[in-house]
Amino acid sequence: MLELTKVSVKRGKTPTLRDVSLRLPAGQTLAVVGESGAGKSTLIATILGLLKPTSGTVAWCGAAVRACRPALVMQEPRAAFNPALSLRRSVMEPLRRGPAEGRLERLCAGLDLSAEILDRRPGEVSIGQAQRVGILRALIAAPPLVLFDEPLSALDAVTQKQTARLISDLQREEGFAALIVTHDLGYAVAHGDEIAVLKAGRIEEIASPRAFALAPQSDYGRQLRDAAIALGSLEAAA
């Protein structure tokens, strides 16, 4: 279980996270929703130990998060790969030895990736393909925790739907805990076991997707929901 207790982060003088407490049980999905600037990237960096919290604790099953070798799927799929290396090299990075028998093939099949694509460089594949290879790299070493930083926002609408389904199918098979950071409320409600609303570095509310879609508890949550309904990304009667 991922557990954040009263985590605050200051960058310079202004705090970017204030007293954030979150719990993500193993195998579950927590969707963190917020606008750009709400502190989503800081949250991810802090969970991964790339930023030290000014106060509070971050832990996976009571130990440092990095010890469980968490994986990250990034917003910009191409930037997540060294442009000079083949995708295959980058995908293999998390592995000490070669991949377990058949795992690469199984994941590739699940992600609708042909083996040939892995021999290309990041600049030679489409963004959608690059993002699926990004997910492949994240899962190759079977991590118990995977963080998704706006995994869909660089993709076009069709690819978004397809990738979102791939992620949840793989999660069912692999059983990892997923923390998905997104500004897309429709995606969060459709795929999260729980929804956390982040605003200006603070958690406004945490609720089940159903409860949230029906009746957000915070003013900001209500604004977000109404805007999403108006835009058609969330169905009014969810």
């Binding site: 990034m74 790969f81 990075e93 790299r137």
Partner: protein, 264 residues
């Protein structure tokens, strides 16, 4: 890139096989023939001890170009390591490292090299030490700048998360991006090292006699400027041609890289 490779080949060839074409032993003293003008026997004449100047110039390439090559590579390694340390260490490490770099830059490099070489006793080793210690700062600055920009790149973060060792990350993710810019800096420093070595030789703090080094040859020739002025032309010309070739290759490389970055 091709120009630099070509240059390296030419320089290594000159320094490597040049001495093979030397008609005489560059240190063989022949007093009866001293200070003879160019002739078919001695194409560039002889110096005050009757040594053949052409042979000394050709052998001198090994000292002047070879030492400059070694010195500029040593400072490349030192500077890159220090620059990356600053970039990746961050915080206090960065501050201390960069202020140290500033301290070293807050002094004319050649003057520092003269002081260091002079005080460490002169000779080849103290020359290498002096020029390497005063020549790493530009590499450090460039390496730090690139290191800082790479540090937050997606693929570097991914490599960290994947648990790659620092050395492996440096080798696979930093080096390829550092190499082009460092090569440009290196051509400039190579040229500077040639000038530095001959300047120290000229002041008597560099390669010691009887070894043929272009700067110390100039020092020898200077005394005879009235009687055999041609003697001081050759070593100087050798320095100018080498430095010019390296500078031109460096300019070409820089332009090629700029074009690659900005697109054709």
């Amino acid at each position: 890139m091709r120009s630099v490779v070509m240059l390296a080949v030419v320089m290594v060839t000159v320094a490597g096989i040049g001495p093979l074409f030397a008609p005489y032993d560059p240190t063989a003293i022949n007093i009866p023939n001293r200070l003879s003008p160019p002739s078919s026997e001695f194409p560039l004449g002889t110096d005050a001890l009757g040594r053949d100047i052409l042979s000394r110039i050709l052998h001198g390439a090994r000292w002047s170009l070879g030492l400059a090559f070694v010195v500029s590579l040593i400072s490349l390694v030192i500077g890159t390591a220090i620059g990356l340390l600053a970039a990746l260490g961050g915080g206090l490490t960065d501050w201390v490292t960069m202020r140290t770099t500033d301290s070293f830059l807050a002094f004319p490099e050649l003057v520092a090299a003269i002081v260091i070489a002079g005080l460490t006793g002169g000779g080849t080793w103290s020359l290498i030490f002096a020029l390497a210690v005063t020549g790493w700062m530009r590499y450090a600055r460039v390496a730090r700048g690139i290191g800082l920009s790479l540090k937050t790149r997606g693929y570097v973060i991914q490599a960290q998360l994947a648990g790659m060792s620092g050395l492996a990350i440096a080798r696979w993710h930093y080096l390829p991006s550092l190499l082009p810019s460092l090569t440009v800096v290196w051509t400039g420093m190579f040229a500077r090292a040639i000038l530095g070595i001959s300047a120290l030789g000229f002041l008597g703090f560099g390669v010691q006699p009887p070894n043929p080094e272009w700067g110390s040859m100039l020092l020898d020739a200077r005394v005879h400027i009235r009687s055999t002025p041609l003697q001081m032309i050759w070593p100087g010309l050798a320095v100018v041609i080498s430095v010019l070739a390296i500078n031109l290759a460096g300019d070409a490389l820089r332009d090629a890289l700029a074009e690659e970055r900005d697109g054709p």
